[in-house]
Amino acid sequence: MGIIVGNWFAIYKKELQSYFASPFAYVIAGVFWLVSGIFFLVLMGSLLTQVAALDAQRQQFGGPGPSVDVPAVLLQNFLGILGSLALVISPMLSMGLYAEERKRSTLELLATSPITNWGVAVGKLLGALTFFVGLLLPLMVYEAITLSAANPPIAPGVFLVAHLGLLLMVASMLSIGMFVSSLTSNTIVAAILTFAVVLMLWIIDAIGNQAGGFWGDLFGHLSMLRHYNNLIQGILDTGSLAMLASYIFLGVFLTAQAVEAFRFQRA
């Protein structure tokens, strides 16, 4: 394993450095934080208002009604939105991973370096993922501040599993995006293609629902959205974990193959 993955750390560091030195990456960060922050506040506001109205009604008519777990609802809705946001920004994060190298003609250097193709791919993927974790951390900070005001207090379990789910799903999307990026030298094309593929894998769930029986099950299982929804609700299902891990692995594998094949291609 060590030999296969090789000295990915150098690539990882380089990739991270390029993210943190790129103004474009910060713009993405700013937009992501702004949009998610606004959504969070709007969600929280509307949820608190609804629940307050419900409680007032209950006071009047007496007797306990259906129970509402406000922090859990907030967490789930917010993570649902974050999933959609991630769907949009992850192509942008992964588009440059290989396409830039192609554009700057440094891909030949990489392909012939002592670092294996797998090592390069893993390093780049981890770099992109780490950047996303950096995007996520401020969110988790103010989520934690809000959720700590829950009465009675909540357990950290679901919070952690839900964010783990987000990370796994984003890793899948980045991995696939990395593969697409390795096929072309144009970053925009890479981004658009990635978005198309990931969107397809997202909505294949709905198609699966429409069809029934075998195809329905197949498409449903392929759908990242379904597995993501399971995870953010706190359900650890081996099927979901296996599927997302497969996407991650597949992306890295195909990237390594593509770079290998690149050696003999023209243009």
Binding site: Y26, A29, G30, V31, S67, G213, Q233, I235, A242, F253
Partner: protein, 556 residues
């Protein structure tokens, strides 16, 4: 020469066109489930185009010579092999999934009773849902059942307009009806049309399945005529029982045609079959009460509980029962019947001797529980979180049930009776003798200190034939099962489980309450809310844009 150039410019994009068309055709066919001319046409033409390109490539010698071809081929083969491998792996994992539900209260896992019923299936059972919209919640619920028993449990969403024959076979009445099919038998579950906002309920589904599996019809008779709760006040209890395959009827023993009147003297009016006016004391009506000379009909038939009764419920009587009625109840119990008695305090109805035989004495003092005030109920509505070790209450854990206006029961050991207290109040409660005073406090000389028993389950010892074993459940309160209180917390489980136990469905699934999330609120004070708003909408975005701006500026 020219032709060749044009060919090579666009030719290599052909396979993508072919694949694209084929995919469109594939999806069209799958979604519409109708492999008509358009889907198949697209599929075939797309496949043909891709095939043509492939063939031309394969047949050109120069193609095979290129090294890029070889490596590309390697790439495709490796990719294909990996896809196959991963596909197989995921298929196996999907077949035998393991799930860990980390959500609080495990709301996404089936109740143990549902799991039990799903596993017990030993013949194919299919759930038919006659509606188009496949909402997430119903699907995941059905998926949960299927995962437990994929051999025999299946479900299908059917468009009633596309398959009218199927709809007719089930006698579908409304769009959104859900039916079960088990062998030759069909069962209606519920209606979940989106207009009504219906969602498939786990308890209804499990109940319907268990009903199909057991194929019993049990009858519950609610005694009437002494001021008991009318069935119109017990609609929720009634529907909960009917869901579980019970037939609920009211029973007024004095209206029973079991009495055969002897021929009357012609000058006197024949007595009508109306309930006799309520007596002031425990005596049978005399001439003075009715104002007419009392006619004796010389009825020789005694009152009797109908033989089809699986159990009798006496819910909150306020007036005396007649000797004949009490005797009928005794006879019924002796033959192995089931009786549920719910007696509110301050009501002397004449059941004391019968209960005394079973070792139960009514305390008749109002139970006061200061802990109830903590959850917004009055102190005269005691909370119970402590349950006895009995099939009725075994699965309750520390769940909550409450009983507005109740008395305690004192249970003495009797050699022929096996008794288990079901409901125990907290230690802070007591039975208050002077319940008229505005401020109640424990007076040890007049009051009974808690914990108090509010409900007890009794059965005759030593009777090996289950059908002949008489069972009684006594509660010191009747309101907990009425419509205002029935659906609260575990109240319905207490009632339904008692009925199930009394009707001796011992192998049966006991009641399911839908899992609820913990009731929680976010208590944000102003500063905290402000901090969050600041961080979320202003601080972090500014950080991002600021960094971007600085970098741009530096690069100039």
């Amino acid at each position: 020469m020219n032709l060749k150039l044009t060919k090579s410019k666009y030719w290599d994009y052909l396979p993508w066109l072919g694949i694209g068309l084929a995919l469109v055709g594939l999806f069209a066919g799958i979604i519409s489930r109708d492999w008509g001319p358009i889907p198949t046409g697209l599929l075939v033409s797309g496949g043909a185009i891709a095939a043509v390109w492939l063939l031309s490539k394969l047949s050109s010698r120069e193609f095979w010579g290129q090294r890029s071809t070889q490596t590309n081929l390697n790439l495709f083969i490796a990719a294909f092999a990996m896809l196959l491998l991963l596909g197989l792996l995921n298929f196996v994992v999907a077949r035998y999934p393991q799930r860990l539900d980390l959500s609080e209260n495990q709301i996404f896992t089936l109740a143990p009773q549902s799991q039990q019923v799903a596993r017990k299936l030993n013949a194919p059972l299919k759930v038919w849902l006659f509606l188009n919209e496949k909402d997430q919640a119903s699907q995941s619920l059905l998926g949960n059942y299927r995962r437990l028993n994929s051999k025999y449990f299946s479900y299908e969403f059917v468009n009633p307009q596309q398959q009218p024959g199927l709809a007719r076979m089930f006698e579908m009445k409304d769009y959104g009806d859900v039916y079960l099919e088990f062998g030759q038998r069909r069962q209606f579950v519920q209606n979940i049309s989106p207009q009504q906002g219906g969602v498939l309920s786990e308890s209804k589904l499990t109940n319907a399945i268990s009903r199909l599996l057991t194929n019993r019809e049990d009858r519950v008779y609610f005694l009437q005529g002494h001021g008991e709760h009318d069935l119109s006040k017990l609609t929720q209890a009634r529907s909960a029982l009917e869901e579980r395959g019970y037939r609920v009827e009211s029973l007024n023993l004095l209206e029973q045609p079991a009495q055969i009147p002897t021929p009357q003297p012609t000058s006197q009016p024949t007595p009508t079959a109306e309930p006799v006016p309520t007596p002031e004391s425990g005596e049978t009506p005399t001439a003075s009460a009715t104002g007419q000379p009392q006619l004796t009909t010389g009825a020789t038939e005694d009152l009797a509980i109908p033989a089809t009764a699986n159990l009798v419920v006496i819910s909150g009587p306020q007036r005396q029962l007649f000797e004949s009625e009490l005797e009928a109840l005794e006879r019924y119990l002796d033959q192995g019947g089931g009786l549920m008695v719910m007696l509110d305090p301050d009501n002397k109805v004449g059941l004391e001797p019968l209960l005394g035989e079973w070792g139960v004495t009514l305390d008749n003092r109002l139970v006061v529980d200061p802990t109830s005030q903590g959850v917004g109920l009055g102190a005269t509505t005691p909370l119970v979180t402590n349950y006895g070790n009995h099939p009725i209450t075994r699965e309750f854990g520390n769940g909550i049930s409450f009983y507005p206006g109740t008395q305690a029961l004192v249970v003495a050991e009797k050699p022929t009776v096996e008794s288990t207290p079901l409901l125990l109040t907290s230690e802070k409660s007591w039975a208050e003798k002077d319940s008229q005073l505005p401020e109640a406090s424990l007076d040890p000389s007049r009051d009974l200190k808690g914990p108090l028993t509010l409900g007890v389950a009794l059965n005759k010892r030593g009777v090996t034939d289950l059908a002949k074993q008489s069972r009684v459940v006594v509660f010191g309160n009747s309101s907990f099962a009425t419509d205002a209180w029935f659906a609260q917390q575990l109240n319905q489980d207490v009632f339904v489980n008692s009925v199930v136990w009394l009707s001796k469905r011992d192998g049966e699934v006991l009641s399911i309450s839908p899992r609820q999330p913990t009731d929680r609120r976010l208590v944000l004070d102003a500063t905290r809310a402000q901090i969050v708003a600041l961080l979320a909408a202003i601080l972090f975005p500014l950080l991002g844009f600021g960094a971007a701006g600085t970098l741009f500026w530096k690069r100039r």
